[in-house]
Subunit: 331 residues, 4 copies
Amino acid sequence: MMKKLILGVIGAGRIGKLHTDNLLRMPNVHVKTIADPYIDKNWVESRQLTGTTNVDDIFSDKEIDAVIILSPSTYHAEQIIAAAKAGKHIFCEKPIALDPDLIREALSVVKQHGVKLQIGFNRRFDPDFMRLQEAVQTRKIGDLYLIKIASRDPAPPPAEYVKDSGGIFLDMTIHDFDMVRFLSGSEVEEVFATGAVLVDPDIGKAGDVDTAIVTLKLKNGALASIDNSRQAVYGYDQRIEVFGSKGSVAALNNTETRTIYTSPDGVISDRPLDFFLERYQRSYLAEIEAFIQTVVGDIDPSVDGNDGLSATLIGLAAKKSLELNQPVAVN
Amino acid sequence: MMKKLILGVIGAGRIGKLHTDNLLRMPNVHVKTIADPYIDKNWVESRQLTGTTNVDDIFSDKEIDAVIILSPSTYHAEQIIAAAKAGKHIFCEKPIALDPDLIREALSVVKQHGVKLQIGFNRRFDPDFMRLQEAVQTRKIGDLYLIKIASRDPAPPPAEYVKDSGGIFLDMTIHDFDMVRFLSGSEVEEVFATGAVLVDPDIGKAGDVDTAIVTLKLKNGALASIDNSRQAVYGYDQRIEVFGSKGSVAALNNTETRTIYTSPDGVISDRPLDFFLERYQRSYLAEIEAFIQTVVGDIDPSVDGNDGLSATLIGLAAKKSLELNQPVAVN
Amino acid sequence: MMKKLILGVIGAGRIGKLHTDNLLRMPNVHVKTIADPYIDKNWVESRQLTGTTNVDDIFSDKEIDAVIILSPSTYHAEQIIAAAKAGKHIFCEKPIALDPDLIREALSVVKQHGVKLQIGFNRRFDPDFMRLQEAVQTRKIGDLYLIKIASRDPAPPPAEYVKDSGGIFLDMTIHDFDMVRFLSGSEVEEVFATGAVLVDPDIGKAGDVDTAIVTLKLKNGALASIDNSRQAVYGYDQRIEVFGSKGSVAALNNTETRTIYTSPDGVISDRPLDFFLERYQRSYLAEIEAFIQTVVGDIDPSVDGNDGLSATLIGLAAKKSLELNQPVAVN
Amino acid sequence: MMKKLILGVIGAGRIGKLHTDNLLRMPNVHVKTIADPYIDKNWVESRQLTGTTNVDDIFSDKEIDAVIILSPSTYHAEQIIAAAKAGKHIFCEKPIALDPDLIREALSVVKQHGVKLQIGFNRRFDPDFMRLQEAVQTRKIGDLYLIKIASRDPAPPPAEYVKDSGGIFLDMTIHDFDMVRFLSGSEVEEVFATGAVLVDPDIGKAGDVDTAIVTLKLKNGALASIDNSRQAVYGYDQRIEVFGSKGSVAALNNTETRTIYTSPDGVISDRPLDFFLERYQRSYLAEIEAFIQTVVGDIDPSVDGNDGLSATLIGLAAKKSLELNQPVAVN
């Protein structure tokens, strides 16, 4: 029988539980320990897991091969560093950090200790978006002209959350920035960001915008446009189009069923899936499977630390662009 | 300058006005007289037409080249005969008559006097259904396996109307029977009709059904299925699918716009167009243009008297099948 | 910790493996033994299961609470009887048997021993079709007028298979007959079946048809129409519409992604999913979860032996109708 | 009988012929004269029109009530001025001129002589876009957050044409700028334009871009984004979305039919209509009907000279923004 990969999971919140449940269904994986300062004992017991409130129990456990970091963002960089120093492979939710220097330090430690690091840009593993990426890469759409992303949350977060989030571009748009890099296969050269406070004045008071349009010039010459809103009352709106010299491929919203109700009021089909847990259910599973495969098969992660750094740099440029009301180069 | 074709129109009801307005926009046509016992003088005047309550004014007018018969169905056969005897080409709304012998007599007079006769199966001129016919004829779908027709009216007619209509199969399904012949390019061999009174009990009392499923075996081996309802509360439901060895082509309902409203209640697109005047607007125009072309160009009509007879024979077989609860051969 | 339900699985073919893999992911279930005369030892080992070629090892095992019968159809009835006599709850793939008397005998033994029996009409657990059933039951569509089912396989089975299958109505349409009962909440009164050999002459030589249209009259007055084909070259075509006095709800085909490719040749979206394993992946999981819940919670199965019997009776009536070319009552 | 409105048409090119044919079908209109230096005599004769190569024949004709200016853009302003001085009402294709001072002069003459002036922003009369405007105005989508426009031509114009066109923003995007004003009911405050030469290097040599993204801040606080391409190989791509606090309404591309072809390669529906004559056929008719109504009913034109001026000012700001790579205020 195959040796199982032994894992420690850090963080047992919503995403922590989701990833853990996915891991528990994999035959070649053993989740040995799960750490969270506020660990939910009932949940841990229902899964027959070993819980701890002390994350160091994971770092110091020689048996653990790899860690899955799903803690709050502010801890990511230090936990990456601790895990790397302990010689463990790392899967870490985005973002690594808001400060590029801290990211660079973490990546340097990772490199030094020769461990693998995969960043949780799960949308890269979504079957719809993979189809778009393939259409660009195989030149099904010919030369890439435009990428258009509509990325809207169903409801705004509390203004309190917004304050510590790094702002909309580092908290929300960062996924879209990564998507532009993923789909285009190109780096971003320049960003122009416009924003407005239309949804919730408290978000404005917290120093952020809740509605934004970001225009990007890519190194390969193509253009990209992202629109964000903190509130799409009809659900989680996630649509992308790649347009080029031979045509366009667009990913529409996913829905719960494919039923249509034909009524005197019109033909009614399902609204978009509620939020990211529903919409990206398959991609959350696929990214963690890919990480296990990366470690087991000793291959390079498909989304690495540099991807994490690059998306943050674009986010910071967007933030600056909004402040200056000018296009800003991504260094 | 080209000589204009001089026309007499018989019947100035809803369809009469529609066709007349279409004719008035054609440069090579002159509508000389319009006959209707209850003629709407204001409307006639607004169109600068000459109206008459006596249809013989049209038959006896040597100048008139062709007549457009849009009177109630019960007058069709006798007016066809009168027009043919007067040497005029004829466009006649369906059905020619409910009695096959009367139809045969009318067709015989038409043949004897060498005039052209086109029957108003306007749906053959609908761009969507023409696309389906082409897909069968060019073998885009390979060998034809199945034709499926959903054909549902938005609201039931008064039971009074039903009584004189010849029943659902001769009044409503007759269009679908013609469509099966048109799409398949084949005659119908056998019919099995099932029906129910689900919409309006008065229709049952009038001796008819308001909901029906008709199964047809075609001479070329393919099968067809038609469902009818006298009431689709959401509009005029007109969908057809042709399915064969290489794929399927389906015509969906037409709508007023292509807008979609994404709301918390779902994604809402337009309901089907209201009724036949809206849905078949383009095909009404196209069929009358085709008739003018048939006369002017001295070519054979694309929908002739035999098409009128055949659809009626299928309708009569369906009626008998419903009565006997048995499949009935179409003679 | 909760006591686990101990299961024996009979049959380790395609469906056997599918259900077993689903069961292995459930926390409250232990698959103790899997029986198959041609058991795939590598697969059994990869799942850390105990395999046997002797099904009696399961019936005689006192520890086993319930059996999952996924063997060839011809063994279903006898295995149901053996399992019931051994006091085990039973999940059994459709059909119970082709002979109604044998079905009645099996159901009688089941009743006598007080065990639960769920039949594998998995489509009842499909989220799209559940939405349709709900629309009928909650009267969202008002009074039910029509049920329309298009149910087409991607490719014909070998003629050899057809010979022992009981014919298209007992092998393929049986799912659609169950769907009509499920959606309408009504029994079927009368069936008229028409068929043709259009796909593969060898199917005709084997005494069956490969293309069929079945019309059903329901006890509640509504009508239903099913079309079947053994070959839809574009995939597994599974569409249903329920139509009533307040509107229509239709389930369209499911697809792998929601992407659209806009090209000079048209706007191209995904074709239907390949076949039943892909299309009904979710419903296979849901039905077995429902069975576990039925046993654990000691509730009545939602799809019981009578449902299995009724679908077979409709299938036999359809078969007779095709032979006689007449409508046949379902007794 | 109602007095007919007597018209002179200036310009008998593609758009000239289209509008003239529409006018010829209107009962209350008489097209007396059509002027074009290169007039197509056969076409004039086929329509039984009076043609002239001298536009002054129209301005000096006392009988003519109104002129329809469909000449090349460079003549618009002077012909507006001449028509106004002759006391004739004016319908004029967009743009009035590229120079705002010239536009202002023309509008001043129009005002001075008290004639009506309607500008040919035909898209305002498109039923789909009218539905969007209504959704904003009636607050069906609540507060307006975003307007998103995809506006792409099927094939690039000759570089020669580009040189005199005023550039993509004044030639092509000007329609989209007007649409933003129409849909939002708000003026534009600031524009940021990005562009690239991706389709045809000759367009770049002519000093223009062929691919562009324009971001607009509106006076009412909402944001808008327009993407343009000179080449969408699949047809004329014209999609708009208005998104707000209560939902989103989007206009998808119009197509020739509503048929779908389900094939092994996918489900293929019609590509977008070819180009503006097909796509905006209905709106061309509706705008000219509205103009006739404006004159006959003595009401204010729904698209007036100021709308023409405003769109040009936004276009000029976009042009400057592209040059400076900075947002530019619309004065």
